[in-house]
């Protein structure tokens, strides 16, 4: 019967999330270490008084002191939480039983291990400790009723001292528990709410992007099919315009989605081997078509670059955003894409001869939806996405600029894969 009872599933609500339980355990141990010493001093003092006053059977009062030191010592070690809690119960029970007339006060003190156990233990451990507490509670309450042979007969002042000590300890600990449960509840509810809001906005964005892309599919698809036929001069130009603007719209939808996923840490990189020089060259060719008249673009690629571990598509996106940004704001002069390698870090610099960015606005360029020039195309997400992607790779983007001279955006990427995995785990936690 016993083995069956023990192996059966034990009642457990187990509705406390693991993170909350761990936090509760941590805080409880911290509290125990910081606050238990007055109680220890009190018990020691009582014991000394008992010894000094030559009270009959004084040695019996030694038991709580021994128990106290064991419990206190174990309370300092986080690993023995079960033993610690059970010995707290025994300690309270022993003291209550030794000192006559304290059943009620001792009973209340069992609330503490009971609540502690509910917060930091799970499954049968929790049930075990709480059952001990309940048994001890009723035993303490009914203790005064039956005739008991081992009952001591302490003097009145000792009873009162013990009464005060126990009440003070219980009251203080209950106050702490109250505060702790409020804080943990608030944190938990906040987390739940944030999570729900995040999930909702994710679903919403996925839906919106789906709805935007469905008509875009027809617009762009048919336009591209029509472009295969040589159309007469003005109409051919119109069609090119439709395709270009459609692609632009599609980029904006993708940017919005990327930004949303980056902001909640849901964007996952797909690391592979990628050659930054090849990416820069490809981006340079791609951007050539959108350069303003009077602007030239060149590349200066370092030959000692080695292929790095990174998400190639994302690195390309970063470079494209940086170069696209330079092309957008440079009306006259030159844009240069250069790569260098130094100290296991690869740097891609995009230098332009655009208007430059005043010092007080340099942080603003990375803020999502903030644009320096409201008439320029785009929604103002490119640099934000680029920097977040670079950071996800364990790198970063820096900006140097001189008003009237131009700006240089420099992306740094570590060569090693380890940086990526570290960064990813940091983001996911």
């Amino acid at each position: 019967m016993w083995s069956k009872l023990l192996s059966a599933p034990w009642p457990d609500k187990s509705d406390v999330p693991e993170a909350v339980r761990q936090e509760a355990t941590r805080r409880l141990h911290k509290y125990w270490r910081a606050q238990i010493w007055p109680f220890v001093v009190g018990v020691l003092a009582l014991w000394l008084i008992v010894q000094a006053q030559n009270i009959p059977r004084a040695r019996a009062y030694l038991l709580p002191v021994i128990l106290m030191s064991v419990v206190y010592g174990l309370g300092l070690l986080q690993r023995y939480e079960l033993f610690w809690l059970i010995s707290t119960v025994v300690l309270f029970a022993a003291q209550g039983m030794l000192i006559q007339g304290l059943g009620a006060v001792t009973a209340v003190s069992f609330l503490l291990p009971y609540t502690f156990a509910g917060m930091i233990l799970t499954h049968r451990k929790r049930v075990l400790v709480q059952a001990c507490c309940v048994v001890a509670f009723w035993t303490s309450l009914f203790y005064e009723l039956p005739v008991n042979s081992v009952r001591l007969d302490p003097p009145h002042y000792l009873t009162v001292c013990y009464d005060i000590l126990m009440a003070a300890f219980t009251f203080q600990a209950l106050r702490f528990l109250n505060q702790l449960s409020i804080e943990l509840n608030t944190a938990y509810v906040e987390k739940e709410v944030t999570q729900q809001v995040t999930e909702r906005s994710q679903q919403f964005l996925a839906r919106v992007s789906h709805e935007l892309r469905t008509p875009l599919n027809s617009v762009l698809g048919f336009a591209k099919l029509m472009r295969r036929v040589e159309l007469p001069s003005p109409q051919g130009g119109y069609l090119n315009q439709i395709v270009e603007e459609g692609e632009q719209l599609n980029h904006i939808v993708s940017d919005l989605l990327d930004s949303a996923q980056l902001s909640v840490g849901k964007l996952m990189l797909k690391p592979g081997t990628c050659d930054v020089n090849v990416i820069c060259q490809a981006v340079a060719e791609e951007i050539h078509s959108i350069l303003k008249p009077g602007v030239s673009l060149s590349t200066s690629l370092s030959s000692d670059l080695i292929p790095i571990q990174a998400d190639g598509l994302r690195v390309r996106q970063i470079v494209r955003n940086l170069v696209g940004n330079a092309a957008k704001y440079t009306t006259q002069g030159h844009i240069e894409i250069s790569t260098t390698r130094q100290d296991a870090t690869i740097r891609v610099s995009v230098q332009d001869t655009g208007p430059g960015i005043p010092e007080d606005q340099r942080d603003l360029v990375f803020v999502p939806f903030v644009k320096r020039d409201h008439r320029s195309p785009g929604v103002g997400l490119g640099l934000d996405i680029a920097r977040q992607l670079a950071r996800l790779h364990g790198g970063d983007i820096h900006l140097q600029s001189e008003v009237g001279q131009g700006s240089t955006f420099t992306m740094e990427l570590p060569e090693k894969q380890s940086a990526i995995s570290n960064q990813r785990s940091a983001v996911s936690s």
């Binding site: 996925a206 892309r213 469905t214 591209k224 989605l257 797909k270 598509l313």
Partner: protein, 117 residues
């Protein structure tokens, strides 16, 4: 000349695929607008390639791909307007490749060529 089954519930997208096939390939395109219809078509006319939209009225594209491949095995291209499903998902074992909406006709034709090779 191959037979390709396109499962898609959105009529303009069906039209676009028809146009791509008519203009740029010499394959034969059959159309289904739901999972049920696709199963019936596969029964009577087994295709050489499936192109399946991820978002269908009666089922989702991956489940349909698994079911159709049990009926008649052929490579599957999954079409989706959910960019993240296309960009970030690892290529599923059932799927030959993904096609992201908005579709680029040349890319579609090239992918079909690869899938049929």
């Amino acid at each position: 000349m191959a037979i390709v089954l396109y499962v898609e519930d959105h009529p303009p997208a069906q039209m676009l695929m028809q146009a791509i096939f008519a203009d740029m390939t010499n394959h034969w395109l059959s159309l289904a607008s739901s999972g049920q219809e696709a199963r019936e078509i596969v029964g009577s006319l087994p295709p050489d390639l499936y192109i399946i939209d991820l978002d269908l009225p009666d089922t989702d594209g991956l489940a349909l791909a698994a079911m159709l491949r049990r009926l008649h095995d052929a490579p599957v291209l999954l079409v989706s307007a959910y960019a993240e499903a296309v960009k970030d998902a690892p290529i599923h074992t059932l799927i030959f490749d993904y096609l992201a909406k908005p579709l680029d006709p040349e890319h579609v034709v090239e992918t079909i060529k690869r899938a049929l090779a």
